[in-house]
Each structure stands twice: as C-alpha cells, then as structure tokens.
C-alpha cells in the first residue's frame, strides 16, 4: 500500500484501458470516455509522485489543472459530437470522413 510502484502500475493499467477504448471504439462518446480514463491515470501519476517525492504540492496543483482542462475538453467534445449527430445522424467516428456535407 505504501508503495509508489503499486500506484504507478494501477495508473498504467488505467492508461492502457483508456487507450484501448480510444483506438477500438466506434462511438464518439465511448472514445471520449477513454480519453477521460487516460487523463485520470495521468492524474494518479502526478499525485503519487507528489506524495512520495516528499509531499510536493506542485503535483497536486498540476492535477487540478488537468481536471480543469478535462472539463473544458469534455464540453467542446460533446458539442462536436452533437454537431456530428445533426449532420450524419450517427456518432460513429469512422463514418465521419468528410469535413463538409
């Protein structure tokens, strides 16, 4: 439990699962979920290094900025997905191949 390695391994597993969702899912919302998993794993790494590196609060501040960025990214991504749905009647990202209808 008091081991840096266990947190890093958990974060690595989360990162790989998120990457798997990003590269295999066809649904745009599911791809977004994968991106959220990746951001969470990065945050775990930041906070773990902050905790085991002598309790440096800069890591936690950086994780806070990552959370802010994730909120902005989710809002814009969902706006894009809704636009995609209005134009193509589908949110499968592999069917959206043209920039203009």
């Amino acid at each position: 439990m008091e081991q840096l390695n266990s947190y890093l391994i958990v974060a690595a597993i989360l990162f790989c699962l998120g990457l798997f969702a990003v590269i295999t899912r066809r649904n745009g919302v599911a791809v977004l979920m994968g991106i959220e998993l990746i951001l969470n794993s990065a945050n775990i790494n930041f906070v773990a290094f902050a905790r085991f590196g002598g309790m440096n609060f800069s890591g936690q501040v950086f994780a806070l900025f990552v959370i802010i960025m994730a909120a902005a990214e989710a809002a814009v991504a969902l706006a894009i997905i809704i636009n995609l749905y209005q134009n193509f009647k589908s949110i499968n990202v592999d069917e959206a191949q043209q920039l203009q209808r």
């Binding site: 439990m1 390695n5 947190y7 890093l8 391994i9 958990v10 690595a12 597993i13 989360l14 990162f15 790989c16 699962l17 990457l19 798997f20 969702a21 590269i23 295999t24 899912r25 066809r26 649904n27 919302v29 599911a30 977004l32 979920m33 994968g34 959220e36 998993l37 969470n40 945050n43 775990i44 906070v47 773990a48 902050a50 905790r51 085991f52 590196g53 002598g54 309790m55 609060f57 800069s58 936690q60 501040v61 994780a63 806070l64 959370i67 802010i68 994730a70 909120a71 902005a72 989710a74 809002a75 814009v76 969902l78 706006a79 809704i82 636009n83 749905y85 949110i91 499968n92 592999d94």
Partner: protein
C-alpha cells in the same frame, strides 16, 4: 484494514474501467465510469490529496459524467434499443495495448525511483490555494480564460443550423 481498503478500491477502479471499455451498452459504460471516478477519488485520499478527491467527485462525477450522459441521451433515441455500440479491430488494438503495458510495467519496476519521506500534512486545500495565488498565478488566470473559451466554443458549435 487500510491495506484491504486500498486493494478493494484498486479492484473497483480497474474492474469498472474494464467494463467501461468492454461493455456493449453505452449506458453501462457511463455508469461503470461513475465507479471508476469514485475509485480514483479514493486513491487520491490514500495519496493524502483530500482536496483533489473532493474536486474529482465534484467536477468529474458532477460535471463531466453528467455531460457524457447528456451526450448519450441527445444522440440516441432513448426509447430504442439501438444504444449498443461496437468496436473495431479489437485484436490489433489489444496486442498494441498489451505490448505498451508490458513496456510501461517493465519501466516502472526497473526504475529506482527517488522516494523522499514526508509527514502527512494536516490539510491540502490551504497549501494548494497558496500555490495557486503565488507560483501558479499565470496558469490559474489562463485556465479561467480557457474555461470561458470552451464555454463559448461549445455554445457556438452545438447551436442548431449554424
């Protein structure tokens, strides 16, 4: 006791993340994501980041997950059963991801990380607030501009008939 709680939280996080990426029903994925976010918040508490755990619950579960649920409901007919989704090239993707994980795990285990002992702080919100108002003043202001830009951008993008 603490050890068992830690491994329980890790198991909840990883199993629900596995459901997120493997479930065929988009709603099940979103609900499993809820448990993943809660598990990550629990890990933050184990890492002495209590303020960050609160922020995680507020923003990820209260904000981003609700946005994702809205996204699902606005792009699928809620009455239809066609809410399932498919995956492509799971074999190739799985191999790539497994190789990546092997490399990452090898790197994590082999590297002699520098670990410094530190006493547990009484609270983290005050320290984070001080850092935000001193060392990280500029990123803090830029983040507010970023949020404003994302707000306006999302509103303009999702407007009908633009």
């Amino acid at each position: 006791m603490g050890e068992a709680a830690f491994w329980f939280i890790v198991a909840v996080t990883l199993i629900s993340a596995l459901i997120v990426v493997s479930s065929r029903n988009l709603f099940y994925s979103a609900i499993a994501l809820l448990f993943t976010f809660f598990g990550v918040a629990g890990l933050y508490i184990f890492l002495w980041a209590d303020f960050l755990a609160g922020v995680q619950v507020l923003i990820y579960i209260g904000g981003i997950l609700i946005l994702i649920l809205f996204g699902i409901m606005l792009t699928h007919k809620i009455t239809s059963v066609d809410i399932s989704h498919t995956s492509v090239q799971q074999g190739v993707g799985g191999i790539v991801v497994l190789l990546l994980f092997a490399a990452l795990a090898w790197m994590i285990v082999r590297t002699p990380w520098l670990v410094a002992a530190a006493p547990e702080p009484p609270g983290t919100a005050g320290e984070i607030g001080k850092l935000l108002m001193t060392d990280y003043m500029l990123p803090f202001e830029v983040a507010s501009v970023l949020l404003l830009g994302a707000l306006l951008g999302a509103a303009v993008l999702s407007r009908k008939g633009n």
